[in-house]
Amino acid sequence: MPEYSILIGGKAGEGLNKAGIIIARIMNGLGYRVFMYYDYPSLIRGGHNFSIIRAAPHRIYSHRGGVDFLLAMNRETLDLHAHRRGAGTVAIFNSDAVKADGIGLPLSRIAKEEGAPEIARNTGIIAGFCGASGIPWEVLEGTLRREIPRGLESNLAIARRAFSAVEPVPAARIATLPRTEKILPVLTGNEAAGLGLLNGGLQAYVAYPMTPTSNLLHFLAGIPADLELTVVHPENEIGVMLMALGFAYAGKKVAVGTSGGGFCLMTEGFSLSGMSEIPVVVILGQRPGPSTGLPTYSCQTELHFAVNAGQGEFVRFIVAPGDLEETYFWASAALSLSWKFQIPSILLYDKNLAEHGYNFDIDSVPPLPEMPAMAWDGSTPYRRYAMTDSGVSPLAFPSARGAVVKVNGYAHDEAGITTEDAGMVTRMQEKILMKGEGLAQDLDVMQTVTATGAKGAGDILLTWGSTAGVCREVGDALGLRVVQPVVLNPFPVKKVREALEGARRTITVEQNATGQLEKLLALHSIRPDGRILKYDGRPFALDELEARVREALP
């Protein structure tokens, strides 16, 4: 079955993310499943940006190194991506900026003549791509009409001129696929997380901007008012976490979003969540460190940071989804679990999932089990930290008649009053840890481990987070089993062991330098036979991982 890769590149600030999304939606509309990789430096204007859109007849989660179409807004794009070109690669470029072999379009001149801003040159090159690949004009026009809210007419005029200026290249023809399956929306992990949180009942979102989760803040700030969501962008991440706890204390289901650096500032409040038993969900999008590191790239380096963040010992739920369906489901579930057990949760993902484009099939997301929070019924005097068999105390919120709701970050008694009494301190420490048992039980009925590929295969790729996507593709191609612990804390050791039964050789695949999943597995006496690591900030390309797996599993 045919698949295509299209790269569009140019200078930062020239709308290449948006251009990539338009190409992805065009391919999606033709019946393909799509993935969009977006590579950009940490600056506003002038660096090199590019998107790679891959389209295939089946669900995909990764890009390839090579491309079939190279759409270059400048000379640099042709030079930097020369290694991606094969014999059949069609290059289309702005001939007003570049002299080269291939299909040149005078995009700057056309944009000027149509009185359009420079950014509209992107529309021209996309139209050139459609013309060269034989994509019908109606498909292009329909997508542009949906995607370009301002200056549509001049963009359409540019598109018409560029489209008709290019002769179809017979060898590069992209066919419309027969409509056997529904067209799925294309969105990013940030958007799927936002929708999942809303589905879980989110009432407040608090965040300080930080790549790669800033777009989640933007997305939630822009959703329609009737979804009844309060969005706040405070002074810093310390304020973010403490505001979140204030919202939850007052009864509002709340989430925060950040990356590793911001989460460093949040850990003090994260620990307060554990002690005061105030629920909060943290969306933690990983990007390479240490420190500022590579702000706009991807990694999987915060697994142990998430597991160990904050002083003291308390229960936390940590989940690392591998695709948009898992992101949506577990964002909803994390909110419910946090509230049922009055604990902090972390939805751990990365730039690769947060900012890249994937298909999303909401109908394949399993239904969320009912997980009601325990509410105070008013029949007994209210004590915020009343001892119960489950360790979970009934919740009441300020303004509840007859309840004095006292929460406390100090060691406290059942009423929430500070104590240093040895017996009470011991009982309360046991109480907050006891909630972990109920959490593990609830998780037992959910799909906390995903296994794909050849079920009985002896060779297994063991991975986590967004790297699961590319592993699934490699597993399918090479006949391997792929096992992905989705929940990382409490670690579903029994299910992981079951998924690994009959293993001959197990290889971990992670985007970090020290093997963080491997270390977590070692705590549970699971010892893989090999590892594939990558730590240059770029997620695995499909062909790249395939080659490394072949090397590791000769």
Partner: protein
């Protein structure tokens, strides 16, 4: 809950002669008046930081959030945003508000969120046994500065004026009637109310003789006049001997932060239908 016992059974561990007792009595009286005026104390929340002041959360039998050092204001802000119907009172120390949590203080004033902040300003760290704070006078000999501090104190009222606070006042624990009156006024004010309360630390920094000599109650002062307010604010720099005014320095009526947030009608929304609607935009 009406006419409730306002003091909990928690054992009080403030030092004898501590200014916190006076603030507690004044706050208790303010709460009793609120209740008499028809506010249910179930609709009042107290947020504290960490330090001697913060024990107020244990001692007062009202809703409370005993938070962490410096973080009274983000907690209090969110509680007010979550439920604007609540009366939110923050008690913080000078270390809390002026050192560890200074960023939050400036932003709370800048936002004009309708909460009330009472600073137990004893100008020394008590609970950590006697180090200088941002309002200790130049040369203050604390445990971390045995030869005396090398920096000037900041004038919190001046800082609050510059940050846009809509109510700025000062109290003193050895003038309880005026303190109570000022705190009650702060609670009545719609917007961010800031009261710096000069409090002696009986153990580490008891300068009541200095305060007693210099304090006076503002009279004939127009708190609606920003220039006059600034004149009074600058009168004493928290360092050199000068008259120390007590009472309300500045007040203005401006829209509140929570009031600017769009409030949705409480009609239950079919979230799944909305989510599917949003997804249609991504095809």
């Amino acid at each position: 809950m009406n006419g409730r016992q306002l003091i909990t059974d928690a054992r009080n561990t403030w030092c004898p002669g501590c200014g916190n007792f006076v603030i507690q009595h004044a706050l208790k009286a303010v709460l009793q008046d609120l209740e008499k005026e028809g506010t249910s104390l179930d609709d009042v929340v107290l947020v504290t930081g960490i330090g001697c002041h913060a024990k107020m959360a244990d001692y007062l039998n009202i809703n409370s959030f005993y938070s962490i050092h410096g973080r009274v204001l983000p907690v209090a802000t969110a509680i007010k945003l979550a439920n604007p119907h609540l009366t939110v009172i923050g008690c913080a120390g000078d270390g809390d508000a002026y050192a560890e949590g200074l960023d939050h203080l400036i932003f709370a004033a800048k936002r004009n969120v309708d909460i009330n902040l009472f600073i137990h300003n004893n100008r020394v760290y008590g609970l950590t046994t006697g180090q200088y704070t941002p309002t200790s006078p130049l040369g203050f000999k604390g445990k971390s500065t045995p030869s005396g501090t090398l920096e000037y104190p900041l004038n919190p009222l001046e800082l609050m004026f510059a940050s846009g606070a809509s109510y700025i006042a000062r109290g003193y624990t050895r003038n309880q009637p005026l303190l109570k009156k000022t705190m009650a006024e702060a609670v009545r004010h719609r917007g961010f109310s800031f009261v710096d309360i000069l409090q002696i630390c009986a153990t580490y920094f008891d300068i009541h003789d200095v305060y007693d000599r210099y304090v006076y109650e503002l009279s004939g002062h127009d708190p609606r006049n920003p220039a006059k307010a600034m004149e009074r604010i600058l009168e004493w720099d928290y360092n050199n001997p000068a008259p120390i005014a007590l009472g309300t320095f500045f007040e203005r009526d401006i829209p509140t932060f929570e009031g600017r947030f769009p409030r949705q009608p409480a009609i239950p929304t079919d979230r799944m239908r909305k989510i599917r609607g949003l997804l249609d935009g991504y095809r």
